[in-house]
Amino acid sequence: MSTETLEKKKRESLFSKRRKKFIVDPLNDQNPITVQVLGICSALAVTTQMKPSLTMAISVLVVMIFSNLVISVLRQLIPTRVRIIVQLAVIATLVTLVSEVLKAYQYDMYKQLSVFVGLIITNCIVMGRLEAFALGNKPWDSILDALGNGLGYGWIILAVAFFREILGSGKLFDFPVFEAIGIHNFPTNGLMVTPVGAFFVLGLLIWVMRTRSGYVER
């Protein structure tokens, strides 16, 4: 508590060095997918194309920010014994809201993502951050943490989707890239369209990132 009050006196800026770490760390050194290996299921399932991946990334980001905020605001009120179920209820509500909004305004996307929007509820990243961070930190810090982890998740699935879509279907965001630059017989790789392709891309990505950061699982 004493350090917190000290910091308050100094009037910490909204993006102080300490706070920047909340956003930057999960993008690389503490990445939820490549380092903590959370949220793999959806990373494999939705990444055949860029468009659904982008929708998924935004949905997860929105759910994370708001659930982290809500739990952080209520952190003094939530009884410890039921905290997990309260977290789950908050996440489930937000996910349902996202899914309803998609159904109303992005029906095609809603159909394409189908169960995977609902499965954000069980995405370990969301609940992991609530339990590990939002329950013990102030709202603004929690929002930054959610932003960091949401983006950390987002950029990885977009990166995977980039390779899978361009190698698997020769397109990016449904735009035929190779035809546009004059290559008409680009051999697409069917493996990339199946979830197996995601394992390969993700595995290579984890390899590259861990080699760079020197992270070793203990």
């Binding site: 014994r81 909004v101 109303a104 189908s114 199946t194």
Partner: protein, 253 residues
């Protein structure tokens, strides 16, 4: 009140439930009209998709095109026209809920037939579109099959699903898979219903893909089985109408 006491926990849970439940109910009420519009547009898009290419067309254009080119009749299992629904109001093909009818026994269902004609000319029929409905692996699957004026050749098909596995069974709704049905025939030369059957596995040799067979989807055998029985069933339900209409095209209208 102590924060760890049972009373506190119960009251906290109750309030949380009410607040979160209320939020969901409000969101649902607020978004419902918009969602229904999306679903209606989606249905009409699917019907049209069975006969034409809708690439690049937006919401309003699709609705306009639908109004100008799609007409419908409703028939029963014997191919007889139904004019009134059970409660006496006039029945139109749009109003028939295929999913709800699916729950009734086949003899009691109302079967809509969508008729695609030239813009503004209801006599110049170009194809008959029949809806199909059935079970996939995880949930319902459905679609629309457009038949040429001979009521035998498939002009196009569009399928959709509730919750098939993305990347596997869900591929039935991709245009590449739908396109495989084009040009296939429902009946053999002697007039027996053969339906169009999707084979097991993908990249089957060319000689297996005759006029009654299309290439399958690897990893989605159960969805494909559902698709096959759906098509077989509905072609049977509509066979009375098909026989009648192909004998006398004008009488069917």
């Amino acid at each position: 009140m102590q924060q760890q006491s049972n009373t506190y926990v119960i009251i906290f849970s109750v309030i949380t439930t009410i607040v979160l439940g209320g939020m969901l109910a409000m969101a649902n009420q607020f978004l419902k009209p918009r969602q229904q519009k999306s679903i209606e547009l989606d249905t009409k898009r699917q019907i049209l998709n069975a006969v034409t290419d809708l690439k690049g067309k937006k919401g309003k254009e699709i609705l306009d095109l639908y109004n100008q080119t799609i007409d419908g009749i409703v028939i029963d299992i014997n191919g007889k026209n139904i004019e009134d629904s059970e409660n006496g109001t006039a029945i139109t093909a749009d109003k028939v809920d295929v999913a709800r009818n699916y729950k009734k026994p086949p003899e009691e269902r109302a079967y809509p037939v969508f008729i695609y004609h030239k813009q503004g000319d209801t006599e110049a029929v170009e194809s008959y579109i029949i809806p199909v409905y059935g079970n996939g692996l995880w949930g319902n699957i459905w679609g629309y099959v457009a038949l040429d004026t001979d009521l035998n050749t498939v002009k196009g098909a569009s399928f959709d699903h509730d919750s098939e596995t993305p990347g596997l069974g869900a591929r039935i709704s991709s245009s590449d898979v739908e396109g495989r049905f084009k040009g296939k025939k429902l009946f053999d030369e002697s007039g027996h219903l053969k339906s169009v059957i999707m084979l097991k596995g993908e990249r089957n040799p060319e000689n297996m893909l005759d006029i009654h067979h299309v290439d399958g989807l690897s990893g989605a055998t159960l969805t494909v089985n559902g698709l096959n029985s759906m098509l077989q069933n509905y072609f049977e339900y509509y066979s009375a109408f098909i026989k009648k209409a192909s004998k006398n095209k004008v009488a069917a209208l």
